[in-house]
Structures are given as C-alpha cells and as structure tokens.
Amino acid sequence: MLTQRLLTSDKGGMIVLAILALTCILVPILNLAVPESSPFHVSTFTVTLLGKFLCYALLALALDLIWGYAGILSLGHGAFFALGGYAMGMYLMRQIGDRGKYGDPLLPDFMVFLNWKDLPWYWQGFDMFWFTAIMIVLIPGILAWVFGWLAFRSRVTGVYFAIITQALTYALMLAFFRNEMGFGGNNGLTDFKDILGFSITADSTRIGLFLASGIALMLAYLACRYIVTSRAGRVIVSIRDAETRTRFSGYKVESYKLWLFVFSAVLAGIAGALYVPQVGIINPGEFSPLNSIELVVWVATGGRGTLYGAIVGAFSVNYGKTVFTSFYPEAWLFPLGLLFVLVTLVLPQGLVGLLGKIKKNRAGDNSDKQTTDKADTKEGA
C-alpha cells in the first residue's frame, strides 16, 4: 500500500530512484575494487564531485517541496544549507584538536590568530558528533521556524516572501563575514583533518560520505513523497492553488506552510552538513544570494512540483556548469542567466515537463496539455 503510494504511482521518480540506487552500488565498487589502470575505474575526484552533486540534489529537493508544492519561493534556502554546513564545519574544526598550525588543543587556528583566550559558548559541544548531528537539524529548523512563523503569520507571500528570504541570507552572509562572529570570518572553516576518526582525505572516507549523501537523498525523497501523497500534501497543493478557499475550508494555512518550510530547511541543513566534509571548506560565500538563486534554477530546469525533477535539474545544471567552467572559467554567468530566461519563458515545466510533452506528442495525445500547464499559471494569483 505504502510502496504503491510512494513509488509505483510515480514512474519518473521510480526511475530516478533506481538510477540513484545503482550509482550508490556501482561507484564504490568501481572506485575501490577496480584498479586505476582500468577504463572502468572511477577516480576519487569523480566520487567527490558526484557526492557534491548528491548534496545539491538534496538541497534542490528541499526547495522543490516548498516551491513546487506550496508555491512558496524561498530565495534564501542556501542559508539553511550553509548553516548545516557550518554546524558540521564546527565539528570538523574541533576534531583537528592540537594538530592545527598553532597547536592549541582547544581553540581552532583562527581563534588563536585573533588572540581569543576561550572557546565561545556556542562552540561548546561541537566536539561530540551526536550533538553536532542534533544541531545540524535544529539550527536550520529553528531559524526556519522563527522566520516562517513571523512571515506566514502576517501572510507574507509570493514575491514579498522571496525578497525577504533573500535579505535573510544576505544579512547572514554579512554577519558571517565578521571575524567577531567566531566562525572564521572571511576564510570560514577549513583544513579539516578527520571525521568520526577517519581521515577526511582517505578514499574510503570519500566513498563513505558519498554513500551517506546518496542514502540521505533517497530517504529524503521518500519522506517528501510521503508528505505530498498524504492528505496534508493535497492541502498544501490547495494552498498553492487557492489559499483563501483553503482557509475558508477550515485549514490553518500558516501552520501547514510553517511545518513544510521547517522540514524543507532541515533537509537543506542536512545537505549542507554532508557537503562540507566532501569539499573540505565552508565559508560565508555559501550564504551568497546568488547561490540560493542558482538553486532555484536547478529546480526550475528540472521541473518543479515533481520532486524527482529537482534531482534531475540539480544534476544536469551542475554537470553543465562543471563542463562549461572547464572551458570558460569566467563566463559561467552568461549561460546561467540565459537558463533563467529560457526556463521561465519556454520551459515552465522544466526538463521533466519537456520529456512528458514529447512522449505525449508521440502518442498523439494532446488532451492533458491543459492540466500540466495549470499549476504553473496558478502560481501568480
């Protein structure tokens, strides 16, 4: 019953999930068991790159849940991602111990450099993984809860919400750039040594992190499916399409939006936490509004309101970015900007919608074109 609801009723999602599962099995084997000389060998660099993409996909999934289903466009989702990343970064910093440049057993290098004497109170506890894990969920969750409570209660919606979330991440970026904040200022947190006792640069650790990201993505996908296929999911779609009607049907619209927003922020935080050990650094640049808006274009490109579309979008845009920037490292903004315009003008349903259309055209059936376009036109209202 539940499998039917979560999986088989959504063919595209099932395919994406199957590919993900296959990748999670094959990549470790091809990296660890196949010798480097073999053409089938997957380099550790590729593993890390794929791991990064998996984190991006998780972040995109989080955004799609609120944007695609509830019509809430957050232009500050990168903030939750970065906060989760910082929480993990703090754990990794504490793991360095006295192996830092200055050899201080307690204080991270940048604090020694700033002549700090004591560890700030908010750094306490981050030497324990379980505590960090709780914080990775709690910090983005609580911020989203407070912010969402204030915003949704006063019925801030649409573009207003988008702009305010952008301002939120902008403000956080400015704040984290400050040395006084105690998060390493400009340079952020870096030079990590190990995680849970494993060296962070070891191939096996990389594979472990890759697997963790893949599993997190698949679980998150199933959790999102559970939400959107539940009665609550239908309420959420109703809110997107006719908020007032839903309110007059007796639903407390604010609390639906709020819980969904919090859940989405938590997913973003987890994505950030998995991302940081793989790239080896977290700095205030992650809060940059541009990052958050790039994320929106991943979801839009993949096709919003489908969940798996977000995953497809995150992978395809980021793959495109990797390829493009290797040829023209400076000019990435051109194709990115163009992608924004094209997706909104000609591909409102994204790649997933395009595939669906092609399929239908082949089958010679144009009748439900109307229904696919609907969710999209509604949003503005």
Binding site: V235, S238, T244, R247, F248, G250
Partner: protein, 274 residues
C-alpha cells in the same frame, strides 16, 4: 444603537472563546444563530458597511439583495473573518464572538462560505476536493499521518449525491462545467457540516436548467442549515426566498417578504435611481 435589537445574553460576553471548535455548544436559545450588530467598515474613507444590523435565525433561508457597492460581499468578509470591522460586533449564537477568531477557526466552527467566483481546486479530482473540505481534525500532523475514516467517506458519497456529481468523482475539478463547479463548491461547504452557509451569487453564469437545480438544492438545505444567499438575479430570489433583506450603502434598507420589499417605496427608489 438600533432600537429593534434582539435580546441577547450580554452577560456571557467576557468568556474566553479561543478554542478552534469553540469548546462549548452553540447557544441559539434566543432564536438567531448569527448576530451582526452596528457593524461599520470603511476603506480609505469609503464606507462599505455603515451601522449594519442583521439577524439570521437557525434553519432560515435568507436572501440578501442590493445594488452594486451595497456592501454584500464586505458583509460576508466580516462574518467569515476576512475583514475586521472598524466598529460593531458579530456573534455566532449567544456566546461566540466571531471577531476574535481567524478564518479557519470560523470555518471549523460551522460557518461555510461560497465565493462569487467559483473557487475549487482545479488540479485535484472532485473526490479530493470534497475530501479536503471534510469536517474533522484539520491540523497538519493529523492530515499527514491519517486518511479519512469510513464515516467521513460515507459522508463524501452522500454529498456527491446531493450535488449530483457522483459520475464525475475521479474527474479533475478543472474540467467541470461552470455550473458543476458551483455545485462542487456548495458540496465542499456541506462537507464542513456547517451551521451557517454563506452563498455569494450561486447562479451567476448558469443556464436556466442549472439555476433551477441550484434553487432546489438551496431550498433543500434550509432547515438543516441556515442559508444566506446573496444574489442579483431577482427571478431566482423570488423562487427561493422566504425572507429578503435589501442592503443599500452599507446598511439595511428594508427587510421582509419579497412582496413587501418590492413594494417598499425606498427600495423602488434605489433600484429605479440606479
């Protein structure tokens, strides 16, 4: 103050009434189920409602007519919590102060509203539309983890029969005809098991046949529910109305049977002057 005010138990006014389902049964022992007293609303200097007084009895079918800008929609907005008035009071039964409640609390408490423009969830099926409107625990966790129980499902089939949409149960609501959408929305109101139904222009844009069916539907609902119908279509009003209230410039111009109202010189002046 209006001299022809119905007696209401003033002493109970100070009771806290924050519970979404009000926490205590609706007290209609003095007759009316809805009290709208001395309500005024102004937008930027324009008085949409001006000392409006209106009392609706339990089980009554009341038609409200009036020229454009008379304040009909604003009145509904006030009763359903969408607009907070500048002055006046709105009580549901003897004890429930509607002005202290938000839209969803009022809706859960038993006041349903149909909008002028039919608003159904077009992306969802007819069944899902009704499912969403079903009375019950409407909090996030409950809707996330639980489906409908048998009783609620029976209720959906029952309502679908009432509104005549049993055949279209799996269709997307977006593909229904205009009249069907109006009925579906009335059906969604019924799913909320309301005590009071506010129906804004239910027959606008309907064919003659559809109008007839709607009239039947609404009259059949009266008795079990209090029904307030706002309508422009005089023929339709005449066909269903027992009691008619005429609004003009935000207050009540006349009240009574259709015949009485139609012969009221004030009403004639307002309509001819238009």
């Amino acid at each position: 103050m209006n001299p022809i005010k119905h007696a209401r138990n003033w002493g109970s006014r100070a009771l806290p009434k924050k519970d979404p389902n009000f926490g205590h049964p609706l007290d209609t022992s003095h007759g009316p189920i809805l009290y709208v007293e001395d309500v005024s609303v102004s937008f930027d200097g324009f008085k949409a409602l001006n000392n409006l007084n209106l009392y609706i009895d339990e089980g009554e079918l009341r038609c409200i007519i009036g020229p454009n800008g008379a304040g009909k929609t604003t009145m509904m907005d006030v009763i359903t919590g969408k607009t907070k008035p500048d002055a006046g009071s709105v009580y549901f039964g003897q004890q429930i102060n509607l002005l202290e409640l938000s839209e969803h609390q009022i809706a859960r408490g038993g006041i349903g509203r149909k909008f002028q423009k039919p608003t159904v969830y077009e992306a969802l099926s007819v069944y899902e539309n009704l499912e969403l409107a079903t009375a019950g625990d409407k909090r996030f966790w409950s809707t996330l983890t639980r489906g409908l129980n048998g009783e609620q499902k029976d209720r959906i089939s029952e309502v679908m029969e009432t509104i005549g949409l049993t055949d279209s149960v799996r269709n997307d609501a977006g593909n229904l005809s205009h009249g069907q959408k109006q009925w579906l929305e009335i059906g969604m109101l019924l799913m909320q098991s309301p005590r009071v139904l506010l129906v804004d222009e239910p027959v606008a844009g309907m064919t003659g046949e559809e109008t007839e069916r709607t009239a039947e539907l609404l009259t059949s609902l009266a008795g079990k529910h209090s029904v307030i119908v706002v309508e422009h279509d005089m023929a339709f009003v005449r066909s269903i109305a027992r009691e008619v209230t005429v609004l003009h410039q935000g207050s009540v111009l006349a009240e009574g049977t259709m015949d009485k109202v139609q012969n009221d010189p004030k009403v004639i002046e307002v309509y001819l002057g238009e």
